[in-house]
């Protein structure tokens, strides 16, 4: 069932990785500028901010595989006034264009805070629009606060973890972790994961199937169909949250005890475990929308 939605899973994760990574590194850049100077801050954060573009492009290309007619994709922004999908595609496109312009300006030595800020706003707007697509469907599991917590939570977690990996592998993490620059965000990532777990505890009981109630509405509603996927949703979410927790805790451990164990490879593996966890959680999320005609 999940195979059908692979393009959406990849698209949503890539857009959130790009937005999170870019936003987090932009924040780090501003903070580091005060501590180590502008040039050094740019040198440390630039590789990650540059990587956000290709990651975003990969996600955008993956989304084309979801369409029945990819050649008509250019029409997808025509209904921006009412369609959240149109808005998401619009903001994703703006995010990419701004990233490109900011990158080209950076190559020429013109790093403008305003351009970086606008790029961050466009990226986060794309994520919010993406979550709103599912929230507005009214389907169980999607039309809940959990959708926003999940999508924005993944964005922040991806941002913190990927930025940590980039700074860590560039040898900067140990030095700056002493002043809490990287430890505090890692603790924030753990906190966000806890909030998401609590949201799931609230949400899962509402997905219980009640086939015994006989009514016209139950017969025709798309909701009971979605609830049939609840078992798969619960299983994938549980495994995904577990993987994410292990990965984030490992990242945090490496930041705290990194001076004892110098392991760039361990932190990369931890990030991959987080990514795997988020992939499973997102697969569970999309399983709720499955029916035989989709």
């Amino acid at each position: 069932m999940i195979r059908k939605e692979w393009s959406l899973i990849v698209n949503s994760l890539m857009v959130q990785l790009a937005a999170g990574m870019y936003t987090c590194l932009a924040v780090y850049r501003v903070i580091l500028e005060q501590q180590i100077g502008r040039e050094a801050a740019i040198t440390l954060t630039d590789p990650g901010m540059v990587m956000a573009g290709p990651i975003l492009l990969f996600g955008m290309v993956a989304s084309l595989f979801h369409l029945g007619n990819p050649a008509r994709a250019y029409r997808s922004v025509t209904n921006i006034w009412t369609s959240w999908l149109s808005r998401e595609i619009f903001f994703t496109g703006v995010f990419f264009v701004l990233w490109f312009v900011t990158h080209v300006m950076g190559i020429n030595g013109h790093n403008h805070f305003l351009m970086t800020f606008l790029t961050v706003v466009a990226g986060l707007s794309a994520v919010v629009s993406m979550a709103s697509i599912y929230y507005s469907t009214g389907k169980p599991g999607w039309a809940s606060q959990n959708t926003y917590t999940d999508f924005l939570g993944t964005t922040v977690i991806f941002g913190i973890v990927s930025a940590t990996v980039i700074l860590y592998t560039r040898g900067a993490a140990l030095e700056y972790s002493k002043n809490g620059l990287l430890i505090a965000p890692a603790i924030l990532a753990v906190f966000i994961l806890l909030i998401r777990c609590m949201e799931q505890i609230n949400l899962m009981p509402s997905l219980t199937i009640d086939d015994n109630v006989l009514s016209l509405d139950n017969l025709v509603s798309a909701e009971p169909m979605a609830k049939k996927s609840a078992g798969m949703y619960k299983s994938l979410t549980l495994w995904g949250m577990t993987c994410s927790s292990i990965g984030i805790c490992l990242v945090l451990f490496m930041l705290i005890a990194g001076h004892l164990i110098r392991g760039g490879l361990i932190i990369i593996v931890s990030a991959l475990v987080v990514f795997m966890g988020e992939f499973l959680v997102r697969s569970g999320f999309y399983s709720l929308g499955q029916n035989e005609n989709k």
């Binding site: 029945g68 697509i133 469907t137 798309a222 169909m225 029916n291």
Partner: protein
């Protein structure tokens, strides 16, 4: 056309679950294999003709379901390409020539299985098209659904399902015209709309 507001009225007390409406729809619109725009369901379960209740007190009740052509259609709002649109006479239409195949309309619709996504090239049991020549051809990678047989309405005819119902359980007409059959039926009989709490104001009424 602007003053008209088409609605469908289905009498659940008269419906005998013969599936003639579903077949007429499929044949008249030349729908591909496995594609049904109009379905007949029973209360007892998803399998055809399943009674409900506890033996020996079983009862057979039927419900036909097609696109509800809502007054406030979430599918129209959700479509990113304006391929799903609403005509002035109330019909919710799907333009196959602009449809991206993103299936947002399916996700946004509160009703189950009133739309079909043609994932592959439409396949037919027969080598030649059947039904109305004016029915629009299905396309690969697009979503299709009941159109209230707009091509027949534009020619002054009723939808296929209305014409064939052997017990005359189905009526169709202009609710804006107080002398129409549908207006009189809705005035005289107790009726309901499916998932009315969703606020989409469906144009299909069920007499109960």
């Amino acid at each position: 056309m602007a003053d008209k507001k088409y609605v469908m009225v289905i009498d659940l007390k008269l419906c005998i679950g013969c599936h003639t409406c579903a077949i007429a729809c499929k044949q008249g619109n030349n729908l591909p294999n496995e594609v049904w725009w109009n379905r007949v369901m029973t209360f007892g379960g998803p399998t055809m003709d399943t009674p409900h209740g506890v033996f020996p007190n079983l009862k057979m009740s039927f419900l036909t379901l097609n696109c509800q052509h809502c007054d406030d259609p979430p599918c129209v709002k959700a479509c990113p390409a304006e391929a799903t649109y609403k005509r002035e006479d109330g019909l919710v239409m799907q333009d196959y020539d602009t449809c991206l195949g993103c299936r947002m309309c399916i996700m946004a619709c509160p009703y189950n299985d009133v739309r079909t996504y043609n994932e592959n090239h439409p396949q037919y049991y027969l080598d030649f098209p059947v039904g109305d020549q004016s029915a629009k051809e299905q396309q690969k990678g697009t979503v299709s659904k009941c159109t209230f047989c707009y091509h027949r309405l534009d020619a002054g005819l009723s939808p296929n399902c209305i014409e064939v119902c052997p017990v005359r359980a189905r009526s169709f007409g202009d609710i804006a015209d107080s002398d129409s059959d549908v207006s009189k039926l809705l005035e005289a009989r107790t009726h309901t709309q499916l998932l009315a709490d969703k606020g989409t104001k469906p144009s299909v009424f069920y007499l109960i």
